[in-house]
């Protein structure tokens, strides 16, 4: 299994991809995943911004939420619907 990472809107443009898959890292949480992505690619720095929200398996979730093998983590810029 693995972690599926999704990027939306401005973050998708920034990352140059809508989706990527990485190996699961035992014990990692949402915030840790963002840090790991930034360490790997400085273009990911925006993921650390506090306005970026995480949706983990279809639910808005805090960065402190532990990730399970098979999770889908979406990085979302501030919503602007309506």
């Amino acid at each position: 299994m693995a972690l599926t990472i999704r990027y939306f809107a401005a973050l998708r443009d920034r990352m140059g991809t809508a989706e990527s898959v990485v190996d699961h890292m035992p014990g990692i949480n949402g915030g840790g995943l963002a840090e790991w992505l930034i360490a790997r690619d400085p273009a990911a720095e925006a993921l650390a911004h506090p306005s970026v929200r995480l949706i983990i398996n279809d639910e808005i979730a805090p960065r402190s939420q532990a990730l399970q093998d098979g999770d889908t983590i979406a990085f979302c810029p501030p919503f602007s619907g309506g």
Binding site: A9, D13, I55, D58, P77, P78, F79, G81, G82
Partner: protein, 156 residues
């Protein structure tokens, strides 16, 4: 008590949606609605709406359910478009029926305020000189926070 939410690319007719809410439930003396539409200006050619399929519908359903619960609505409706829209085209319709006016009006305000900050939609503006993602308006968070803290209810 009925809730209806939908995300669609097709243009909708706000009047038909309002008519579907009126005269249906004889216990409801009040129907309120809000329609958001593409505002012109700043050289805008078109607006493009992106969303997170599945999650968006779930978020809208929860918002409508919460409005029905808080204000004992007869019906609550949220229709939101995605894709590309020209200036003047409707983007979103929110409507509520209730026994009395205050409930219908407040529930409608609540749904559109919360939708702005809790449903994963993103707007991109296309102008003649390029395109850019829209930043949320500064007051949006405050409006949603006030409802979530219950402040607005007490001023009704």
């Amino acid at each position: 008590m009925a809730v209806s939410v939908k995300v669609q690319t097709e243009r909708f007719d706000a009047g038909a949606l309002l008519d579907a809410l009126t005269g249906r439930d004889s216990s409801c003396g009040a129907v309120a609605s809000f329609t958001g539409q593409v505002r012109g200006g700043d050289d805008l050619v078109a607006l493009e709406l992106e969303h997170y399929p599945g999650v968006t519908e779930q978020a809208l359903g929860r918002i409508a359910d919460e409005a029905v619960r808080r204000w004992s609505l007869g019906e609550a409706v949220i229709i939101h478009r995605v894709g590309r829209m020209a200036v003047g085209e409707p983007i979103v319709f929110v409507g509520a029926s209730a026994p009395h006016r205050r409930a219908a009006l407040e529930a409608t305000s609540f749904m559109i305020d919360i939708l702005k900050t809790q449903a994963p939609f993103w707007k991109r503006e296309h102008t003649s000189s390029g395109s850019h993602w829209v930043e949320p308006r500064p007051g949006d968070d405050e409006a949603a926070s006030a409802w979530l803290a219950g402040e607005k209810e007490s001023t009704a």
